[in-house]
């Protein structure tokens, strides 16, 4: 049994590797972007599972076994919620069906403070932003704060270790390839999501783009490069750097070129040049930015596209990166299994020729309404049985 699973895993990993490297492969890979949807499918809740990683393993492995995925983005719930609790809470809401970031609570820095960040990036983050964001580290004696930090770090490291164990267990027991290894935030997205919030960052794009761009470069140099190297010391064939890109769909190309592209491009080129691969979720619509993406290194990226017309995406970027995408979750929820298979068939006829295509859903499946299991099963069976080259 173990040998069979390892053979299946190797076969699936090779299928994915060929697709990402834009080489011929045996068939279209069937990829899971299922996250919290797995909880409702299993019959449990986020509240019950968030602190029980053994339950999380059971929840996600049921999805892998029942739908026969070749590969997946997520081994379990995607954020260390115990770490958040150990710090006294953060901006994540866990009392809902799915893990959500509370809106309007991420502005912990003012536009006037860019100069302080640029003068001493690490000092500003440690002395100003962290105490401001986390009262548990901003109040009390040095010893008390050290205690909070050490306890939270222990929780974080335990979570990292458990995620590694779970990923390995999915490999040996379900033969599923989960390359998600390290998840850095691109610098401008760190500002967008956690320092200046949506509204503040978009104001900065208009009012002080040079400072925003300089801050992104400072974060790139002080956080992104050293942390990514520390968390993944060497490129490995079964481990990808995973990026969720948030800000670009909301800005014009000329603004993207100034505030986002320099650090994003530098990061990809630096690590691709060392042999690393990437799994990138291009959230929302990126069609206005394809001229930039064409410059990225060839054969290192699996790019998932949410709202783009995949036929345009494949034509524009298929020579650069492997295109991931496919059936809309709304179709998986509202249409019949036969209708879903017809949609999948049409997409595959247009997108599979020449390789470099991975079939999945158009977006991460979180809510129970992101797909009817019967439709997902029908589509998965079709992809696995009818897409051999």
């Amino acid at each position: 049994m173990a040998d069979e699973m390892m053979a299946l895993y190797d076969e699936r990993m090779q299928r994915m590797t060929n697709a990402v490297e834009l080489k011929p492969t045996d068939r279209v890979p069937w990829f899971s972007l299922i996250d919290n949807w797995a909880l409702s499918y299993y019959g449990t809740t986020l509240a019950k599972a968030k602190n029980d990683m053994d339950l999380q393993y059971d929840v996600y492995s049921k999805v892998y076994r029942d739908f026969g995925f070749d590969a997946s983005a997520f081994p379990a719930i995607t954020f260390p919620l115990g770490f958040v609790d150990a710090l006294g809470g953060g901006i994540y809401q866990t009392d809902m069906e799915t893990l959500q970031i509370a809106t309007g609570q991420s502005e912990i820095m003012q536009a006037a403070e860019y100069d302080d960040l640029l003068a001493d990036p690490m000092g500003f983050m440690i002395n100003k932003l962290i105490p401001r964001k986390l009262p548990s580290l901003g109040q009390g004696s040095v010893e008390e704060r050290f205690g909070v930090l050490a306890n939270a770090f222990g929780t974080l490291m335990a979570w990292v270790g458990k995620m590694g164990e779970i990923t390995e267990k999915h490999k040996t027991e379900s033969g599923v390839f989960i390359p998600n290894a390290v998840v850095p935030f691109m610098p401008a997205d760190l500002i967008f999501d956690y320092l200046r919030d949506f509204k503040g960052t978009l104001e900065d794009v208009r009012r002080c783009p040079d400072k925003l761009a300089a801050a992104a470069m400072a974060i790139y140099q002080n956080i992104n490069v050293p942390v990514t190297h520390a968390m993944m010391r060497q490129p490995q064939p079964d481990k990808y750097i995973t990026l969720f890109l948030h800000m670009p769909p909301f800005i014009r190309p000329k603004d993207f070129e100034k505030v986002y592209w320099p650090t994003f491009k530098a990061f990809i080129e630096q690590f691709a040049g060392l042999g690393y691969k990437f799994m990138i979720l291009f959230e929302k619509n990126w069609e206005h930015l394809y001229d930039y993406l064409r410059e990225l290194p060839r054969g290192h990226i699996l790019g998932f596209f949410e709202e783009d017309d995949l036929r345009k995406t494949k034509a524009a970027l298929g020579n650069v990166m492997c295109i991931g995408g496919g059936i809309r979750t709304i179709d998986l929820y509202l249409k019949t299994p036969a209708q879903c298979v017809d949609i999948a068939k049409g997409l595959i006829e247009d997108l599979a020729p020449g390789g470099g295509f991975v079939f999945t859903t158009d977006r991460i499946m979180n809510s129970g309404t992101d797909g009817n299991p019967e439709c997902l099963k029908a589509v998965g069976d079709y992809v696995r049985e009818h897409t051999y080259y």
Partner: protein
């Protein structure tokens, strides 16, 4: 040295130094921790 810098120094001495001899590695872990603290 600020209070937060003292907290970080204690963390490096009492936690990281027990596991890691390489100061560069300890520095990278502190940077990783800063990222995680900002992203909760």
């Amino acid at each position: 040295m600020t209070e937060m810098e003292q907290v970080i120094q204690l963390f490096e001495e009492r936690v990281l130094a027990q596991e890691m001899d390489d100061p560069q590695q300890r520095d990278a872990i502190i940077r990783m921790l800063v990222f995680y603290l900002l992203s909760v």
